[in-house]
Every structure is written in C-alpha cells, then in structure tokens.
Amino acid sequence: MKKIEAIIKPFKLEEVKDTLGEIGVEGMTVTEVKGFGRQKGHTEIYRGSEYTVDFLPKIKLEIVLDDGRVEAAVAAIIKAAKTGKIGDGKIFVSPIDDAIRIRTEEKGPSAV
C-alpha cells in the first residue's frame, strides 16, 4: 500500500475529488494548510509599513491506496489540479506499513 499526499490549490478540491471518484477512489482526508515553494510570497503595505505574505493557503489531500492504483490516481490528480501557473502544488508518495478498518477490524489492502 502507498500513501499519496497532494498539496493543491484550494479551489481545485472539488475537481480533484470528482476526477478521483471517476477512477474509483472512494475515500480521502483533507486538511487546510499553508505553505510556499520556490517562488515565495509577495510584499504588502499596512498603514505605511511593509510586510511579506509568505504563506499561501493550500489544501492537503491524503489517500492510501493499493500499489497498483497509485499511478492512475496520481495522473488523475495532476489532470484535475494543474493550472499551468506557479503554486499548483506537489504530490508525495510514501509506503504504508499497514491499514486497519476500525469498524470491522479487517487489515491490509481490503481495509482501504
């Protein structure tokens, strides 16, 4: 099993969710986060004093999938979340040791 963490622009969430749904991904966890990449932020002025706005709001999606479905899911996320402009985000894939469904206590790929 693998975990996909995707940092995307907040307004793209609905589109990504729908596109993942089309390929059969049925669950995800979403958090509101802030971050920046190489391009950093920009400066604003409040009452004559400059301040930098470094952190921009983003959405982080976390999905745990069977190894065989990862490639399709990543492609779906990219297709839905890409705008071509800076700040589109990043996807990270990492291995998962185990997964358990709390209700039925089943383990392994059948739990995701």
Partner: protein, 573 residues
C-alpha cells in the same frame, strides 16, 4: 489592596444613596415629597424638582414674561443712559403685569407652552444621549476589529466595563465636580441649584476651578433637569473613557484598566470638563479678557471629550510600550499587526457616525434650537470628506491601495474635528474641516508609528490630534451666524477668516494647550498608581498566547482555529 479600594468605594456609594433627601418619590404623595426633599442647605438655594412637576413655565417661552429690571445703584443713577434704560424696562414690566391681569387664560396657556418647550428640550437631550450611549458599541467593534482575534474577548471586555465604571464614577462625584457650579440649566427649565463653583480670584478676575454640588445626584442634584443633564454628560464622559482602551489594547492588564476605569469618571475627565463646560476658567477667558473672543469654545467636545481621550491614550501607549514583535531592536517596524475583522471595524464606524448625530446636534440641549439641522448636516459632511480625503490620500500618495482601516480612521477624524465647530461653521467650512482632518489623520498615524508609539487603532491621531485641530478651526472658520452670548460674551462666534480677528483662535489655543498639559500630568499619575498597585503590562507569555484566556478565562472565539500568521511573529523581533 485593590479589593479593599473597590470594597470601600462600594460601601461609600451605598451609604450615599441612603442619606436623607434621596428617598424615592411616591406617585400619590408629590407635595409631601417635595417638602421633605428640600435641601437642608441655604434657604436661598433653588428648590430641586425631582418629579418634574414644576419645571417648564411661562418664563421658558422666550420674550413672553417681562420681569422688572434690577434697581439702579447710587452710582448708576448718575448715568442718564442707564436711567433711561431703567425707565423703559420698568414700563415694559408694568405693561406686562397689567396685561397679564386682564388675560389670566393667556398666562395659564403660556405656562403650558413653556412646559411643552422644555419638554421638547428634555426629549431631545435624553434621546440624543441614548444615541451617544450606542456609540459604546461602535467603539467596541472598531477597536476589537482592528486588533487580533486572540485578544477579542479582552478588548471587548474593556470597552464593555468602561460603561458601568465610568458611569458610576461620574455619578459618585464626577458630575458634581464638572457641573456642580454650572448655574441655571437654561434650556431645561432654568433650574439653578448646581450653584457651587470653587473659584479662585486672580488679579481681581474669577477663575472657576471645580464644582462641588450634586454628589451622588442627591440634594441639589436630585432635580429632573439635573438628571437629564447627567445622562447626557455621562455618555460624553464615557466616549473619552473608551478611547485609551483602543490604543493600549493587546497588552494592558485588565486589573490596571479597572484602576483607570475608577479614576476616569471621578477625577480625570471632570476637571478640564469643568473648566470648559462647567463655567470654569477656560470658559471665563472671554469675559475676563475681552481680547480672547468668547473664551475657549467647544460646542460638542473636540477638546473636552476627544482630545482628553487622545492625550490619555498617548501617555498610556508611550509608557506601556509597543506590542511584542511589531518593532525590531532598532525601532523599525518589521511586522505590522493587521486587523482581524474589517467588517467589524466598518460596522463599528457606521455605528459611531450614527451616534454622532446624537453627539453633535444633541449638544444644543434643546430641540427648540433649530440650529440643530445645521449642526447635523455639518457633522455629516465632515464625516464624508474626512473618509474620502483619507482614502484618496492613502491611495494616491502613500501606499497605492485604498486602506479600509484608514477609510474608517478618516471618517472618524472628520467627525472628531467637526465636533467643536459644528454649530459655528457653514457647510463649506464643515466640508473643508473634514477634508483637512482626513489628511491630518493619515500623516499623524504614520508619524506615531515611526517614532515607536504603538497605537493599535490610531486613537491618538483620530481623537487627540484632530480634537485639537477641531478646536483651533473654530478660531479660523467660525462664520458669525451663531453663538450670540456664548460663555457670557455678546455677539456671535467669529473666526479669523470671517473678520473676527485672532482673539478666538488664541482662546482655542490656550484651551488646547491646557488640555494637553493637564491630561498629560493626570495620565502620568494614574499610570504610575496602576503600575505600583498591579503593574500595567501583561506578561510576555500571556501577550503571545493572547489575553483572552490568561486575563479573562474564556476565549473570545471558542472553537475557532486561529490563523497562526495573525498572531505574534516570533522570528524577527
């Protein structure tokens, strides 16, 4: 130790409320009540009218009753002009007396008319007073909106508690100090029981220093006109009282604020207030020194209310120090602290602008004084030009973006600046005063930020600087269409640009300077007292966490996730 102070204060108040002469009137026993409520003091003191039955008579109808002139002294009898004037006045009085005998119904009707005129004035004063009370909500919203969310409960609580605390201080002794020597309350029935002003005579001239009558609104103070005056003046006092809570927010201990709250309504505000509005020496400048126009004139309180608050705010902000994280070691602003709710700020500003329709027009204390329309429109125009000027000035010359917080500061600056001159200027004058104040407030905010005085809401600039400007502008722009007899000086109030010379301007300058010096000293003393008793500034850990839970025990926004960027940045300070 503060607990002992507060307890003894409470005991004093309770004792005071039960001294003779303050027993509640029984509706069915008015006459007996009036007799027992008669003050034990000098029998020449006017009789207070707590039930309002005797207030408002024929003599309140202007020009109806003609009273006999005062007898001429031996010296005056040698002056032919004075003798002739006396003869004319005596004849007019005799004619009236004879006519009154022939038309008793007319005299009776005149009593009714007088009562109605006075009733209109009571209504006006009270209802506009209620509008000004609502400004407390406006101040609370503006200040809380401009501060951070983690301090919302604390900032709101200061603005909330200042209302009862200021009021009770004013009730205890502040009103007596400020208006105890006022004399006749002219528009509301001419009750003249507040007649003890402690006066120093210097160079043969009277200098009223402080009033000394009407403590706890009993005795001479338990008169219905005095009560109406108390309510109206109390909400003005509270406007002053709530100004420093904005500037010193986000790092002021609630206990220190409470100590200030005990002292603002009792002593800090009433002293200068007596000098300007209570018949004290600043008002007497005109009669004492003919070259000073009408003395220090302040129609609705640019100096008495706003500048007093602004100066207290300046001293407190200066002494308490800037908020953590805003300035670096070299005094440069490394992280401006942005407002957490612009909607709150603007709603609060609108509430203040609305309440100002009570603040300025209400200061005639008379619905029968039809200048109220001019006052109201002048107020309105200055608020508009103030907001617009501040916005455009920021947009075009300062930050290249129209800043919402400065839009609001601009409107409020216009309102503060027009508060003193509103009755004495034309529409053009009002618009110009507002325009200047909008630019002045921007420059002033930038100035205080630069010199390291952290004013969370711009209160020093809005109220202090523009309060002073408002008074000075009377000396420049008063157009001579109103104010005959103001402060006992004949003639209307005229400023420099309308041929009045510089006399009025100098009087205003004296008043403004006195305000600055007096309130600076009083604020230093009060800050020092609070510092010794409880300490003014909160602990650094509390300031970083947010004052709501450490100081108040309850978060202002329970359950809401705070934006960490809006809290104190730790990195650069």
């Amino acid at each position: 130790m503060t607990h002992k102070l507060i307890t003894s204060l409470a005991v004093l108040v309770l004792l005071g409320s039960f001294t003779p002469g303050t027993v509640r009137a029984d509706d069915t026993n008015m006459a007996a009540m009036a007799a027992t409520n008669a003050p034990a003091a000098a029998s020449t003191d006017p009789k207070p009218d707590p039930a309002g039955m005797a207030t408002g008579v024929a003599s309140d109808v202007p020009g109806f009753v003609v009273t006999a002139p005062a007898d001429l002294s031996a010296d005056d009898q040698k002056d032919t002009n004075k003798v002739a004037a006396y003869k004319d006045a005596k004849k007019a009085a005799d004619d009236y007396a004879a006519q009154a005998k022939l038309e008793p119904l007319a005299v009776k009707l005149a009593d009714g008319v007088g009562h109605n005129r006075v009733a209109i004035n009571f209504m006006w004063t009270l209802v506009t007073g209620f509008l000004v009370m609502f400004m407390q909500a406006g101040f609370a919203l503006v200040e809380t909106g401009l501060c951070r969310a983690k301090n919302a409960g604390h900032t709101m609580s200061m603005n909330f508690m200042i209302y009862p605390m200021g009021m009770l201080g004013f009730y205890l002794c502040g009103f007596a100090f400020m208006f105890g020597g006022l004399g006749a309350i002219g528009t509301m029935g001419n009750y003249a029981g507040l007649n003890h002003e402690i006066t120093w005579t210097i160079m043969g001239k009277p200098f009223g220093i402080i009033g000394w009558k009407g403590f706890l609104l009993q005795g001479a103070g338990y008169d219905t006109a005095a009560f109406a005056l108390f309510l109206f003046q109390m909400v003005f006092m509270d406007t002053t009282a709530t100004i420093p809570t904005g500037g010193a927010a986000e790092r002021w201990k609630f206990s220190a604020f409470m100590i200030y709250g005990c002292l603002i309504g009792t002593v800090m505000y009433p002293l200068f207030g007596n000098w300007v509005w209570g018949g004290g020496w600043l008002a007497q400048l005109g009669t004492n020194f003919p070259s000073l126009g009408h003395g220090h004139v302040d129609f609705a309180g640019s100096s008495v209310v706003h500048m007093q608050g602004g100066v207290i705010c300046l001293i407190f902000c200066w002494l308490i120090g800037p908020r953590h994280g805003k300035y670096d070691k070299n005094g440069k602003i490394v992280h401006p602290i942005t407002p957490h709710s612009i909607p709150m700020v603007m709603l609060g500003t609108f509430i203040l602008a609305f309440g100002w329709f009570g603040f300025n027009p209400g200061s005639t204390l008379a619905g029968t004084d039809l200048r109220i329309a001019v006052v109201a429109v002048n107020t309105m125009l200055a608020s508009a030009t103030g907001a617009l000027a501040a916005t455009l000035y920021m947009w075009w010359f300062k930050t290249k973006k129209p800043d919402p917080s400065m839009m609001c500061n601009g409107m409020l600056a216009g309102l503060v600046a027009i508060t003193a001159p509103c009755a004495f200027v034309s529409a053009g004058g009002a618009a110009l005063i507002g325009l200047i104040s909008g630019i002045l407030v921007v420059e002033s905010v930038f100035f205080f930020e630069k010199i390291g005085i952290d004013d969370c809401v711009g209160a020093i600039s809005v109220h202090g600087v523009n309060g002073a400007f408002g008074c000075l502008s009377i000396g420049l722009f008063a157009d001579g269409t109103y104010g005959d007899g103001w402060n006992g000086v004949a003639g209307t109030v005229k400023g420099f640009f309308y041929g009045g010379g510089l006399g009025q301007f100098w009087a205003e300058l004296i008043g403004v300077t006195t305000c600055f010096m007096t309130l600076s000293i009083l604020s230093l003393v009060v800050y020092y007292i609070a510092e010794k008793l409880v300490g003014n500034r909160v602990a650094l850990d509390d300031e970083i966490e947010g004052l709501d839970v450490p100081e108040m025990g309850v978060p202002g926004y329970a359950g809401m996730v705070m934006d960490k960027q809006a809290e104190t940045p730790m990195g650069k300070a």
